[in-house]
Symmetry: C2
Subunit: 341 residues, 2 copies
C-alpha cells in the first residue's frame, strides 16, 4: 500500500476525497479537508509526480536548455547563474520547478530537443543561445509546447522572446568612441551563427556609417569565443600598420584574452587602445583599468522571463499577447575608454 491510497486508508476515507482535499477542489467538508492536510503534513506525503503527470498531462516543471561543453566550462557562466536564479525564485511562488537541461556541445541540439519534447516531462521550455537561423525554433513551434527564447532569431515565426540590447550597446559604443575622436573603431565578435553577434555587428556597421566612418573589413575581427580567440584578435590588431585606436567586443572571454594580449605586448588598454565590452564578468575583475561595460538588471530579466513562460503555459487564455522585450542597459565608462590622442 502506497501513496494516496495509504493516506486514504489511514484516515478511513476514499482516495477521491483525499485527492480533492489535497488539490483544493471545492465540495469537501472543511473538517475532512483539515484532517487530510494534517495527515499529509505529518507523513510527508506528496503526490507522485509520474502518476499526476500521466493523469493531468502537466508536470509543473519548466525546462531550460543551456549549452555546455569545454568552452562553456572554461568561460564564466555567471550570466546564466544570475538569470536562472531570478527565474527560479519567481517560479517557486507559483509552485513550478525550473530544471536545467544541459545540452553538451558534442550532442546534436536538435536530437536533444526532440528527445526532451517527446519525453513529456516539462510543461514549457526556455531556449537560450539562439542562432540567426535556428531549426530548434521550428521544431518547438511544431511541437505545440509553449516556449520562450532568451535571444531573438531571424527564424520566422510567432514566438515569444526576450533579449539584451546588443544593437543599443554597439550603437552607444561607437557613438561614444567617435565623440572622443576615434575614427578607426574596430569590432570583435565570436565565430559562429549566434544571433547576438549578427545584431552587434550590424549595429556597429550602421553607427559607423552614421558617424561618417568606414566600417571596413580590416576593422572586423572574428575569432573563437574564448580567451585564446581574444588574444588572437589582439595580435592581429597590433599587427596592422594603421592600427585601430578603439575596439568593442561583446564576448567577455574574448575581452579578457584581448586585454591580456595587449598587456603582454606592452600596450595599455585605455591609454593606447580604448576598449568597450558588453557585460561585466569575473574574468575582467582585476584588469587595470577596469573595462567600460553595460550594466543590466539580470534579476529583472529573469523575473520577466519566468512571468512570460508561466503565462504562456498556465494562463494561456489570458496570455493574449506574445512577449517580445529587450532588456535595457546602462553604459558605465571607465578609464578603458579615453580620447584619441
Amino acid at each position: 500500500m502506497t501513496g494516496i491510497r495509504a493516506l486514504a486508508d489511514s484516515l478511513n476515507i476514499s482516495i477521491g476525497t483525499v485527492s480533492r482535499a489535497l488539490n483544493g477542489k471545492p465540495g469537501v467538508n472543511p473538517e475532512t479537508r483539515d484532517r487530510v492536510l494534517k495527515m499529509a503534513q505529518e507523513t510527508g506525503y506528496v503526490a507522485n509526480a509520474a502518476g499526476r503527470n500521466l493523469r493531468k498531462g502537466l508536470t509543473n516543471t519548466i525546462g531550460m536548455v543551456i549549452g555546455t561543453g569545454p568552452a562553456a566550462a572554461k568561460g564564466d557562466n555567471n550570466f546564466f547563474m544570475a538569470v536562472t536564479d531570478a527565474m527560479q525564485r519567481a517560479m517557486l511562488e507559483r509552485g513550478v520547478d525550473l530544471i536545467l537541461l544541459p545540452c553538451h556541445a558534442a550532442m546534436d541540439p536538435l536530437a536533444f530537443l526532440q528527445r526532451t519534447l517527446q519525453r513529456g516531462s516539462i510543461d514549457g521550455l526556455v531556449l537560450t543561445a539562439t542562432l540567426e537561423q535556428d531549426p530548434r525554433i521550428a521544431m518547438l513551434e511544431a511541437s505545440h509546447l509553449p516556449f520562450i527564447t532568451l535571444g531573438r532569431s531571424r527564424t520566422p515565426g510567432n514566438y515569444a522572446w526576450m533579449d539584451l540590447d546588443f544593437e543599443g550597446a554597439a550603437r552607444q559604443s561607437v557613438a561614444r568612441l567617435a565623440e572622443l575622436g576615434h575614427r578607426r573603431i574596430a569590432i570583435g565578435i565570436p565565430k559562429g551563427q549566434a544571433n547576438l553577434s549578427a545584431l552587434y555587428l550590424e549595429s556597429w556597421r550602421q553607427q559607423m556609417q552614421a558617424e561618417g566612418l568606414s566600417p571596413s573589413d580590416d576593422l572586423l575581427f572574428v575569432d573563437d569565443f574564448t580567451e585564446a580567440g581574444g588574444a588572437q584578435v589582439a595580435a592581429r590588431l597590433l599587427d596592422q600598420a594603421d592600427r585601430p585606436t578603439a575596439i568593442l567586443m561583446c564576448s567577455e572571454p574574448m575581452i579578457s584574452g584581448f586585454c591580456g594580449g595587449l598587456l603582454g605586448a606592452g600596450v595599455q588598454p585605455g591609454a593606447d587602445v580604448s576598449v568597450i565590452g558588453f557585460r561585466q564578468s569575473p574574468l575582467l575583475r582585476h584588469l587595470a583599468p577596469p573595462i567600460s561595460c553595460f550594466d543590466m538588471d539580470l534579476d529583472a530579466l529573469g523575473e520577466d522571463m519566468a512571468k512570460a513562460i508561466l503565462g504562456l503555459v498556465y494562463d494561456a487564455d489570458n496570455a493574449l499577447h506574445i512577449t517580445r522585450a529587450i532588456s535595457p542597459m546602462t553604459y558605465v565608462e571607465t578609464a578603458s575608454v579615453q580620447p584619441l590622442r
Copy 2:
C-alpha cells in the same frame, strides 16, 4: 491515438511487441524489431516519461542539488560547470539524463529535498556543498534513494562520497610556506558550517604544530564567502602590529577580494604577503602576480562521480563497495609565494 499505441497501429502489430522491440528485450523477430526501430526513428517516437516512470518506478534521470542565490550568482560557478559537464557526458553514454536542481538560498534546503524526493522524478541524487553536520544526509538515507555527496560530512552514516583534498592543500601550503621561512602563516575561511572549511582549518592547525609554529587565534580569519569578506580579511590582517607574512585561503571570491584589498592598500601579494589559494578561478585571471593554487582534474572528478552514482542506482548488485574517494591535486607555485625577507 498517441504514443506507443499509434506506433503499434501504424505497423499493424501489438503494443507489447513494440515495447519489447524498443527496449531490446529478447524474443522478438529480428525483422520485426528492425521495422519497429525504423518507424520509431522516422516518427521521432520516444517513450513518454510519465508512463514509463509510473510502470517501472525509474526515470533514467539523476538529480543534482546545487545552491543558488545572490552569493552564488555573483561568484564564479565555474567549478560546478566543469564537474557537471563531465558528469553529463558520462551519463549520456548510459542513456541517463542529469538534471540540476537549484535550491535557492532563501528556501529551506530540507523542505526542498523532501519535496524533490517525494515527487519521485529522479532515480538518484548528487548532493553538493555538504555541511559538517548535514541533516539532508539523514533524510536521504531514510528515503532509500541512492545518493552520493560531493564533499564529506561529519554526519554519521554509510553513504558514498567524493571530495577534494582540502587537508592536503592546507598541509602542503603550510609546509611550503614554512620551508620558505614564514612563521606567521594565516588562514582565511568562509563563515558557515561548510565541511570543507572545517577540514581546511583543522589541517592548517595540525601542520602548523608539526612545523613547530603556533596556530594562534590572531592568524585565523573567518569572514563572508564573498569578495567583500576577503577584503575584510585583508583590512584586518594589515591592521595587526605583528602582521602575518603569508596566508592560505580556500575560497576564490575571498582570495580575489583579499588581493584587491592588499593592492588597494599598496601591499603587494607575493612580495609583501605570500598568498596561496585553492583553485584557479576566472576571478583571479588578471591578478598580478598570478596566485599559487592547486591544479585538479575536474573532468576526471565528474566522470568518477557519474560512475559512482550510476553504479549505485542501476547496478546496485555489483556496487558492493561504497565509493569514498579524494580527488588528487597538484600544487602550482607562482610569484604569489616568496621567501620571507
